[in-house]
């Protein structure tokens, strides 16, 4: 009986110590979705390629999905080796006639964030092109990073 009580007391102590070590507020590991937008202005966007990375914080890419417009709905091209890493190059194209213009979400990147530090995401648009394959001026921006 005494041994059982001692074991129970030890378990309770362990739980208390583990709880005390957990930081209050945010969980140690959380998942976020980062949306990537490309704004091609008036030009229809037929192809894009960008690089996304987190320069600060412990972030790992866990999944990538396509964009909002039908032309880029399918999952884009990316190196599978980028999964569980903090850097990825994403690209897609569409040879059809129905293409988005203006600002459109082209991809959603799911990430796993560890620790309190907020990842500092950086996106760099490598190239964007119109339907005739010519390079066009465009910008890439990010949104999200909200807990999911």
């Amino acid at each position: 009986m005494r041994k059982m009580l001692a074991a129970l007391l030890l378990c309770a102590l362990c739980v208390a110590v583990l709880r005390a070590q957990e930081p209050e507020g945010r969980p140690a590991v959380r998942f976020e979705a980062v949306d990537v937008y490309v704004d091609s202005g008036k030009s229809p966007l037929a192809a894009y390629q960008f690089e996304l990375a987190a320069e600060v914080g412990d972030m790992k890419i866990v999944g990538i999905e396509g964009g909002e417009h039908a032309a880029f709905k399918e999952p884009p091209y990316y190196d599978p080796a980028a999964l569980m890493k903090h850097r990825v190059i994403i690209a897609a194209f569409n040879t059809g006639a129905d293409l988005p213009s203006g600002k459109t979400r082209v991809a959603r990147v799911h990430v796993q964030v560890t620790g309190d530090a907020e990842p500092d995401y950086v996106v760099k648009l490598n190239v964007a092109a119109s339907a005739d394959g010519k390079e066009i001026k465009a910008t890439a921006t990010l949104a999200g990073g909200t807990g999911k």
Binding site: A46, A47, Y48, Q49, Y77, Y78, D79, A81, A82, K85, R87, V88, I89, I90, A91, A92, F93, T95, N126, V127, A129, G133, E135
Partner: protein
Amino acid sequence: MGNTANHPDGTGPEAPKALSDDLWSLYRSRVHVPPEVDRAVLEMARSRFAGRRRSVLVLRWATVGAAAAALLLALSLMVQQERPLAPRIPSTRPEAAVRQDVDGNGRVDILDAFALARHIEARDKRRHEWDVNGDGDVNQADVDTVAMAAVSLEKGTLQ
């Protein structure tokens, strides 16, 4: 030494002569070794030592041989390193990267895959260099190969 400790005069214990004679006669060797057995033992010892000498000689020559082989190997490696590597490594651009650079702008990106896809869709006259994956056909697999090269984290872009 222990005996001298027991006998301070240093003479040690003396057995009586009768006992000493009896013991001597009891343990005196009476074994007679015939000369042929003696010779046989001697022969065996000689042959054994001769065999050992042979194995020592073999071991010595094996060591010398191994050292010579190692020296030859090192020399051949040195000679190979001094040879030009031109036949094995392309001089400037890797051939695969050149093929993936469909639009020929000096870098591999998604626009190369896009250009190839447009060529295929337009049923343009097939060019040998568009067969990027080398399977003898120009199709979606080649487009995918170029696109995957464009997004590879370890890609060697053409500069």
